[in-house]
Amino acid sequence: MHPALQGLVTIILGVGGCVAYFYLSNQILDKVLFPARGQNAGRNITRANMIRPWLFVLPALLALGLYLAYPVVETLRLSLTERVTMSDGSTTYNWVGVDNYAQMFNEPKFWEAMRNNIMWLFVVPAFSTAFGLLAAQLTDRIKWGNVAKSMIFMPMAISFVGAAVIFKLVYDMRPVTQDQIGVLNALYLTFGGTEPKAWLTIPVWNNFFLMAVLIWIQTGFAMVILSAALRGIPEGTIEAAIVDGANPFQVFFKIKVPQIQVTILVVWTTITIVVLKVFDIVFAMTNGQWETQVLANYMFDKLFRANDWGVGSASAMVIMLLVTPILIWNVRNARKEMK
C-alpha cells in the first residue's frame, strides 16, 4: 500500500478508533452495565460515574505507560544485562550486574562526553537565558518590538539538522589562497587572522561552536517566556523606583530581575533538559569527532554502531540520572500549585 494512503488509513483508524472507543465504552457503561433505571438507578449512576473517568484516561495511560514509564524500568534492567546471541540465532539477556557501568567508566570517550555535557549544561542555559532576557527587555521598549521578537524567535521552527547545515556554512573553511565562503573565517581574516581555521576541528573550543547553534535556537524560547514575565511585573514597583531616582539599569537589575527570578529558573531548567537530550546537532556536525562527544550521541554510537545494548542502556541511565533532580523539582512545584 502506498505510504500516503497508509497514513490516511491510519488517521481514520486512529481518530475514528479513539472516538468510537470513547463513545461506545460510555454507552456500554450507561446502557448495559449500570443502566440508570429500575430500582438500583441511583446506585448505578454513582457507580458509572466512578468508572467513567478511567474510561477517559485509559488510552492515554496505556500509551504513557508503554512508551514512557515502562522503558525507564526496562532500560534500567537492560543496563544490568548483556545481550548474547545464541548459536541458534536467538538472543538472551545475561545478568552482569554493574559490569556495563564499569566498562563505560573505563572508556575515555565516556568521560569526554561527560566533560562536554557539563560544559554544555553551564554554557547553553546561561547564554540562552541571558540573551533571551536582553532581547525581551530591549524589544519591550520599542515600536517594532514584535517584529524583532519574531525574527529572534524564528530559529525555534528550524530543525537541529537544518541549523547544523546553516552553521556549517558559517564555519566553513577554504584554503588561504581562495576567498572564504564561511562568515567566521572571512571575519577572522579581516580582523587580523593569518590562516583560516577549521573551527569544528579545534578541540575544546569546537564544543563552543556547537553550543552556539543551540543557544541560537533556544534564545527565542527564553525571550518569549521572560518577556511575558517582565510584562507581568506590577507597574507600581517600577514607578516607585523611578521616583526614588533609580536609573534604567538599576530598575532592570534591582527591581525587575528579582521579581522574575522564578521564571528565570523555569527557563533555565527547561533549556537544561533540552541540553541533556541534545543529539542531532552533534550527530550532524561532528558526530563526536575532535573531542566533541556528548552523552546522547555516545549512547547512539553504542546502540547502533557498536551494537552494545548493555552499555547503551547504561549511558541512557546516566542521562536519566542527570534529569532526575529537575523532574523531582517540577513535580513538587506542580503539586504545590494544585493545592
Partner: protein, 382 residues
C-alpha cells in the same frame, strides 16, 4: 512608561541600535543559507554569499568556438564570437590563453595565441581570433578572463533537488515521507490527550492528583531511555521498523505535553457552563464533545503546532523506529545528514535541501506564531 522613565532620546537610540544588531545577528546565518540556495556551485565556491548581492570579480575559464566554425577573410582565418550572452552586464579587465598566465593581456591589447595567431577581447566579451594558417583541432581555444559580473541567481538548485526524477539524492520522496510521518503523528495524540485532559480537569476520582504529578514527571523523561526497550518491543510484536512504529512512538512521546497543555487550559474554563450543562442532563461525553472541545481550540492549536514542528524536525525517532535498511522511508532530516557526509562541499545541494525542509515549519511558524507563544507560556512548568 517611557515618559516617566526620563528616557533620554540617546537611550532610545541605543536600544533601537542594539535590537537591530541582535536581529541581524540572529538572521544572518539563515539568510546566508537562503541566498546560497539560489547560487550556482561555482558562485558559492568562489565568493562569500554576502558578496552575491553585489557585482563580483571572478576568474572564469571559457571556450571560444571550435575551429570548424572559422571563416576566411581575405588572407586570414578568423574565429569570432561572444564569451558571454550579449546584453549581459559584464566587465572584463584582463585575459589570457594559458592556465599559467591567466592575466597575460589587458582588454584592448592584442594577445598572441600559443599555436600562432592573434586574439583580441573586448570589455563586454566579444573576441576575435585571427591567423594566417587555418585553426586546427576539434575543440575551441580556452580563454581565461577576469571579469566583473553582475549578481546572478538561479532556481536550478531547487529544480534539481525537487523535480529531477533521476536525482537519487533528491528531496521529493523524503518530503512526502516526512509529511506521511507528521500528519498522523500530530492528530492522533490530540484525540487521546483531549479525553484524558478532560477527565483530569473536570472529573473527580481517586488518584487524579497522582496522575497529574506523574504526567508532569514524564514531561522531562529523555527520549533516549525509550529507544532500546521500544525497538525491542516493536520487533517482538512484529511491526519492526516502519511508519506504524514511528506514529506510535511519536504519539507516546507527545502525550505528556499534550495532556499537560490541554488540562491546564481546560481547568481554566468557566465552571458555570459545565455545571449548567450537567443540570440540563448532558452526559460527560456530550459535555466534552459539544462544549469543552470547541472552547479548547486555542490549546489544541498550540499543541498541534508543537507536535507538528517536533515530528517534522525529528531525526532520532526516524533513525531508530522508521528508516530500515532499504532507505525507502527516509525522511528529510536523515537525507540532509547523509548529504552532509557525502556532499559536504556541495553547498548548492546542501543549502537547497536544507531550505526545502525548513520552509514548511517556517511557514507554519509565521502563520501561527500566536498559538505557539500561547502554548509555550502555558507549557513551561511554573
Amino acid at each position: 512608561m517611557d515618559s516617566i522613565a526620563g528616557s533620554k532620546s540617546s537611550l532610545t537610540w541605543a536600544v533601537n541600535i542594539s535590537v537591530v544588531l541582535l536581529v541581524a545577528l540572529w538572521l544572518f546565518p539563515t539568510v546566508g543559507l537562503l541566498v546560497s540556495s539560489f547560487r550556482t556551485s561555482d558562485q558559492i565556491a568562489t565568493s562569500g554569499w554576502w558578496k552575491a548581492l553585489f557585482p563580483s570579480v571572478q576568474n572564469l575559464t571559457l571556450r571560444a568556438d571550435a575551429p570548424e566554425l572559422q571563416v576566411r577573410e581575405g588572407d586570414l582565418y578568423v574565429i569570432e564570437g561572444d564569451l558571454f550572452e550579449v546584453g549581459k552586464d559584464v566587465e572584463i579587465s584582463v585575459f589570457g590563453v594559458s592556465s599559467r598566465a591567466i592575466d597575460a593581456f589587458k582588454v584592448g591589447e592584442t594577445g598572441e595565441l600559443v599555436k600562432g595567431g592573434d586574439i583580441t577581447v573586448s570589455v563586454e566579451g566579444h573576441y576575435r581570433m585571427t591567423n594566417i594558417e587555418p585553426f586546427e583541432g576539434s575543440r575551441g581555444q580556452r580563454i581565461f578572463v577576469t571579469a566583473k559580473t553582475p549578481p546572478e541567481f538561479t532556481l536550478d538548485n531547487y529544480h534539481n533537488v525537487l523535480f529531477d526524477p533521476s536525482n537519487r539524492e533528491g528531496m521529493a520522496k523524503a518530503f512526502f515521507n516526512t509529511l506521511t510521518v507528521t500528519i498522523p503523528a500530530t492528530i492522533i495524540p490530540i484525540v487521546i490527550a483531549a479525553f484524558a485532559a478532560y477527565a483530569l480537569a473536570w472529573m473527580e476520582f481517586p488518584g487524579r492528583a497522582l496522575l497529574i504529578a506523574a504526567i508532569v514527571g514524564l514531561l522531562v523523561v529523555p527520549l533516549q531511555l525509550a529507544l532500546i526497550p521500544l525497538l525491542k518491543f516493536h520487533n517482538e510484536i512484529g511491526i519492526g521498523k516502519g511508519y506504524l512504529g514511528a506514529w506510535m512512538a511519536h504519539t507516546g512521546f507527545g502525550l505528556p505535553l499534550a495532556i499537560y497543555l490541554l488540562r491546564n487550559y481546560m481547568v481554566g474554563l468557566p465552571r458555570d457552563i459545565i455545571e449548567n450543562a450537567k443540570v440540563d442532563g448532558a452526559s460527560d461525553f456530550q459535555i466534552f464533545v459539544k462544549i469543552i472541545l470547541p472552547l479548547s481550540f486555542p490549546a489544541l492549536a498550540s499543541f498541534a503546532i508543537f507536535q507538528f514542528l517536533w515530528t517534522w524536525n525529528d531525526l532520532l525517532v526516524a533513525l531508530v523506529f522508521l528508516i530500515d535498511s532499504t532507505g525507502e522511508t527516509t525522511v528529510m532530516t536523515k537525507q540532509i545528514v547523509e548529504l552532509l557526509g557525502t556532499r559536504g562541499g556541495n553547498w548548492e545541494i546542501l543549502a537547497t535541501s536544507a531550505f526545502v525542509s525548513i520552509a514548511v515549519p517556517l511557514a507554519v511558524f509565521f502563520a501561527m506564531q500566536k498559538y505557539l507563544v500561547r502554548g509555550l507560556l502555558a507549557g513551561s512548568v511554573k
